[in-house]
């Protein structure tokens, strides 16, 4: 099949709302959005707490988290695999090769990004706000909601970056999801599989959707920073 035909069939899959195609896109979005939400719920307060706290070993924790931002997805997948495998500590939960396992793996990849970006953003704000907030009797942990709210536009950009990383990731979800048709097959794992099989239209179609997502995320991140500059100063 030549590229022109493959491209034309790929567009047919997208605009024809092919059920199999939509199922894969839908699962990918559900897994990634859930993973980012989970990472945000843990990472935002944790990052802000790290920004306002002072304790022995804090710098080591920061270095560790920053290092984890470069965690190779296959290693993250392997870690979650070991954790969820039948002989692993959470094997009894029976989550391996399910979408839930994929969510955990992607959350593990996104979490360090969220924590590190939150710490950086809120620490900068804390340096600026500390005297004022302390003067109002708001110090330490009580300052966290104020810092998160005032850093909301920068943090939204960070979450979008996390979404970008998770949605484009293939190694971790392949290991813990198993790439099972109609169950754990995501856009990235499908592209890898279908390309190797020579089914280019499906791979191309999903590739176009992924690229569209990337541009959308960048547009939203740009919008968030512009809105922040306009409404928050």
């Amino acid at each position: 099949m030549d590229v022109t035909t493959a491209f034309s069939e790929a567009l047919g899959l997208i605009f024809g709302a092919d059920p199999k195609f939509l199922q894969i896109v839908g699962l990918s979005l559900r897994v990634t959005l859930t993973a980012v939400l989970l990472a945000a719920m843990i990472g935002l307060p944790l990052g802000a707490w790290l920004a306002v706290s002072r304790f022995p070993g804090r710098n080591l924790v920061i270095i560790f988290i920053n290092g984890m931002m470069g965690l190779p997805p296959v290693v993250a997948g392997l870690m979650v695999f070991l954790l969820l495998s039948r002989s692993g500590p959470l094997g009894a939960w029976g989550l391996l090769f399910t979408p839930a396992a994929m969510v955990i793996a992607q959350a593990l990849l996104v979490l360090p990004i969220v924590i590190a970006l939150t710490r950086g953003t809120t620490e900068e704000l804390w340096l600026e706000y500390r005297e004022h907030l302390t003067s109002l009797g708001v110090s330490g942990l009580r300052a966290v909601p104020t810092l998160l709210w005032d850093g909301r536009f920068a943090l939204a950009t960070g979450l979008l970056a996390g979404f970008g990383r998770a949605s484009a990731e293939v190694g971790a979800v392949l290991i813990v999801g198993g790439n099972i048709a109609n169950y754990t097959r995501t856009m990235t794992t499908t592209i890898a599989l279908e390309t190797s099989k020579g089914d280019l239209p499906l791979a191309l179609g999903l590739g176009i959707v992924l690229m569209g997502l990337t541009f959308l995320i960048n547009g939203l991140a740009f919008g968030a920073s512009r809105i922040g500059a306009r409404f928050a100063g």
Partner: protein, 237 residues
């Protein structure tokens, strides 16, 4: 037994501050009774801002005490002293939201709308606070402090970055606050401002309280050689 009606007088006793083994302030003592504007003046590095921060409890002294008439300057569970900084800290929100934040975290007794009205900020209420002019930001900082119903207001060089018009507005606000019974302790580099506003002057030099006098007496007949030199415009070492 009746609860105390005021957090004043403030008694500062042998207060000292040091950093990295170097003495930066004190030991010094003075008393701040109720009412009026007291100006802390002196050259750069005299310890003026440090003294305000120690009194307001933002930093801990190396030794000595800041004694309010009631513990920590609190009445009915609320801190009754506030501070306005040289560079007002503006949260990344609208002017109104800055006031609402202060009101909510301190359970302030006054209304945000009244604060906006009183300090001439009603038409700027929805503007991002960080995009206001320097004078508007300082008025917002004053409004934010006023919300807290302070008995004592500490002001660190409140007009040092403002033009004469904005300075006049801030000074008018300070005089109004003083007339309403708020006790003001402010640092200033502007001797003209100290002459215009202050009833009393604390003159600091190199961390020491050199003179504590009525403003009129200080400006007409300072007792110390250092103060005479300072008022004459000499550079103090």
């Amino acid at each position: 037994m009746r609860a105390p009606a005021s957090i004043l007088p403030l008694r500062v006793e042998n207060l000292a501050f040091e950093a990295e083994g170097k003495s930066l302030l004190g030991p010094l003592s003075f008393e701040l009774p109720r009412g009026g504007i007291t100006a802390i003046i002196g050259p750069n590095g005299a310890g003026k801002s440090l003294l305000l921060r120690l009194c307001h409890g933002l930093i801990a002294p190396a030794s000595g005490r800041v004694n309010w008439a009631v513990e920590e300057g609190m009445l009915a569970g609320r801190k009754r002293h506030a501070m306005v900084f040289q560079r007002p800290v503006m949260l990344r929100r609208s002017a109104r939201a800055n006031l609402q934040h202060a009101a909510s975290v301190t359970h302030a007794g006054r209304r945000v709308e009244d604060a906006l009205e009183r300090f001439g900020l009603a038409s700027l209420a929805e503007r991002p606070a960080r995009l206001l002019s320097g004078g508007e930001q300082q008025r917002l900082a004053l409004a934010r402090a006023w919300l807290l119903e302070p008995e004592v207001l500490f002001l660190d060089e409140p007009t040092s970055q403002l033009d004469p018009g904005a300075t006049r507005q801030i000074e008018a606000s300070l005089e109004r606050l003083a007339a309403e019974g708020v006790t003001l302790l402010m640092t200033t580099h502007d001797l003209g401002q100290a002459r215009r506003l202050a009833r009393r002057v604390l003159f600091l030099n190199r961390g020491a309280l050199v003179e504590d006098a009525e403003a009129s007496a200080f400006f007409t007949a300072p007792r110390s050689e250092k103060a005479r030199s300072f008022l004459a415009g000499d550079l103090l070492w």
